[in-house]
Amino acid sequence: MVNEQHFKIKHFMARAAFGQRIIQYHANTNLEETIKKTFTDAKRYQSIELISHAQYDELRRSMTLNGSKIREVIKRSREKIKSINIAWIDQLTDPDMALREKMTLFWHDHFACRSNNAYFVQKQNNTIRKHALGKFGDLLTAVSQDAAMLQFLNNQQNRKSQPNENFARELLELFTLGRGHYTEPDIKEAARALTGWGFNLQGEFVFRKRVHDYGQKTFLGRKGNFDGEDILSIILEEKQTARFLTEKIYQYFVNDQIDPEITEVLAMRFYDSGYNIELLLKEIFTSAWFYDPGNVGNKIKSPVDFIAGLMVNFDLQFEDPEAVLFLQRAFGQVLFYPPNVGGWPTGKAWIDSSSLAFRLRLPEFIIRMSSFRFNKSDEDLGDLSNFRKETKRLRSKIDWKQFGESFSGTTNGKLISDCADYLLNVPLEDTNMKFIEEYLNSIGDAYDPVKEVMLSIASLPEYQLC
C-alpha cells in the first residue's frame, strides 16, 4: 500500500521537475529528502556552450559583407539555435538539473524574447540559468542589460533625441509591476532614464553616455536624475513587484487560480528576503497547502511539459535528436520562439480539437515506433498524413525491460493501477480502468502487457495533467 508521502513526492516532482524517471519513482521514498536533494542538485548548473565567441565573431564579420550573404548567415545561426534548443531539452529532462532548468524555463517565458543571433540566444539562456534561483534583482539587471533583450525591445534605438519606449513599457507591464500599477508618464520617464543602454558588436552591454538623457525624471512618484539602474531599484522598492512575480510563480507551480491570502503572505516574505527566488520556491514546496488535493493534478501540461514528461516517464531517447523540434513545432511551443513578449499562453489555451487529438495519439506513435515488432506501413499512420515524413523522426529507444521489472504485477488489475500510479497525477477512474482491462483482454498474449498498459494510460486525457 502506497502511503501519503508517496503522493506528495509525485506531486512535488510533477511541479518542481517534469515528473519522475522510473528509477527516481522507486528511489524517492521520503518527501523531505527528495525536496532537499532537488534543491541541493539545483545549486550546480551547466551552461550551454555550443557557439563560441570566435564563431560568433566570424558570423558577425560575414554579416557586414553584403546583402545576399546575410540570409546565409541567418540560416546558419538558426541551425545553431536548433542545436541549443536540443541541448536545452536534454538539460530539462536531466533528473539532476530539473529544478534550475524548470525555473530557467519559467523565466524564459517571463522575459519572452526572440533573436536570430544564436550567440545572443545562448548568452541570454545562460544568463537566465545563472540567476534563475538567485535574487530577482540580479536577474532583472542581467536581462535588462542583455544583448538579445536590448535588441528585441529596441532599447538600442532608445536615445535622448528620440526615445524608444518599447523596453520601458514591457519592463513595467510584463516583467515587474503588471498592468495598472504605473502610468503612461511613468513609461516615458523610465524610457528617458534607460536611454543609452545598448550593446556592442561583441554582444556586451554598453552604456552610451552620448545618447543618455541626464535630465531630471519623475518616476513612480520619485524625482531625480535617474539612470537605468535607478529605475530598476525603484521598481524593486515597490511591493507590487513582489506581488506580481509571486502570483505568477504561484500560478506556474501551484494553481492557475490564485489564493490571494497565500500569495500575499508569500509576496511579502519574498520582498523581505530581498527577492530570494530559491527561498520563495522552498516555502511553496514545503507548505502544507501545496499538497492540498485542490492543488494536485489540476494543471494542463504545456507542450514542453508534455514532451519533456514523456521523455522522463518513458526514459526515452529519440534516434533523431531533431524529433524534439518537430514536436515543439507540432504543438506550437518552440523554445526561443515565444509568440510575443507576453510569453506563451497557459492552461486550457493549449487544448483544442486538433492539439488534443495529436496529444492523445502521440504516445502510440512513439511507442509503436520503438517496437521492433512494429511492422505497420506508413500508410497506417496516415491519419497524421501531413506528419508522415516527420513521424519517422519519432523512432526512439525505450528500455522496456526496466518497466517490465517494475510493473510485472500478478493480475492485470494490479498492473494497470501500478502503471497509473506511476504515470498519472490524478486517480484512474473505474471507467478507464475497465476500459483498459477490456482492451488488455482483447489483444491476448501476443503483446507485452506492460507496454500496452503504459501506452493506454499515457493516451488518456488524464495524462495531460500535472
Binding site: 510584463l174 492539439s355 501531413n386
Partner: protein, 391 residues
Amino acid sequence: MLASGSLLVPNFLKAMNATNSNLTKGPNGKILVVIQLSGGNDGLNTIIPYRNDIYYRERPQLAIEKRHTLKATDELGFNNSMNKFKELFEEGYVSIINNVGYPNPNRSHFRSMDIWHTASNSHEYLSTGWIGRYLDASCEGCAKPHDAVEISDSLSLALKGKDVKGLAMRSPQSLYRSISTGSAKDLSQLHQDKHHENDQLHYLYKTLIETTSSVDYIHEHSKIYKSKVPYPQNPFARQLKTIAEMIGSGIDTKVYYASLAGFDTHIRQKMQQERLLQTYSDAVHAFIKELKEYNRFNDVMILTFSEFGRRVKQNASQGTDHGTANNLFIMNGNLQKPGFYNEGPNLKNLDAGDLIYDIDFRCVYATLLDKWLDIDAKVILGGEFEGLGFV
C-alpha cells in the same frame, strides 16, 4: 461492450444533435471565409498606382510598368498575374478597401499577425482570437468546434476562444482517421455523461467529446457534395476546394479559415509575388465559380488580409521590407459597394517612409460581425469600431 450513455446527453451535445437534424433541410446561414496571406503581401505591387510618379521613383527596379498592369480605374491596376481576380472584380464581386491598418503599427510578422488575430491594440496581449470570441459569444455554450474550421494542421490564435475553440484539419478524412483509429472515440463515448470534479479534466473530456462529435458530423456530411469545378493543383487551391465541398455538402460551419504563405519578399520580390498572386487569384476564381454553381455565393463572404503591407521604397535586394497599412479584399455575390471602397494610398503623406492607415482593421471585423454574422461586435472587439458600408 461500451456504454452508449445516450440517456444523459449533456446540453451542448443535444444542441449539436438538434442542429444536425436541421441540416438535411439545408442551412440558410451566412458563411465567412477568411483567407490569410502570410508574410506581409506587398499591396503596392498588388494594386498598382500606375500613374503615381512617387511609386516609380521609389521603386526603380521593382515598380510594375504601366503597360504591364491590368487597369481597373484611371489610377489603379492589378498585378498582371491577377487576370482571374480582375474578372471577379469586373463582375462586381470584389470590394477593395485601401489603407487598412492600426495605430502604432508593429513590423514584426508574428506580433502584427497576433494583433490581426486577436484584434487587440498594438500594446495589448490577448490570448483569444476574434473568431474564437465570436464562438464564445455566439450561443451561450452551444457553439461547437466545427462552427469555425481552419484547413490546417494546427489551429490559429484567431480561432481560439476562451471556452470554445475552432477545429483545425487538413481534410475531413484526415481528422476522422486520427480520432477513430485510437482510443479517443471510445473514451469520449465512455465519458459522455460524466461530470469531472477536476475542472481541467472536465475541460479535456469536454473537448474530446465535442471533437469526436464534430468530426463525426463533418465526416458524415462531407461526402454529400463533391467538387464539380477544376481547381489548380496546389495546396492553397486544395484548401479552398475542401471548403467548397463542405459548404456544398450543407455542413453548418459558419467561419472557414485558409491561408497562403510566402509573401515575405525581401529579396527578388517580383517573380515570387507574381507566382503567389496568381496562385491566389486562380484558386479564388475557381472557388467562387463553384459557389455560384451551387448558388451559395450570396451567402458566402470572403475576407482576404495580410499582417502588414511593405515599405514604399524598395530595398537593395530587389525586394521590399516590412511596412504598415495595406489593402484588403472583400468578396461576395451581393456586395453593397463593389469596386474600390475608398481611395488608394497617399504616397505624398508617409510616416517615415510608410503608408498611413485610414481604416482600422477592426472596423472591417466589426462590419463582418455585426452585419454578416449577426452578433454584437462590441462584445467581441471590446470597443466601438465604426462599421463600413460594404455589406
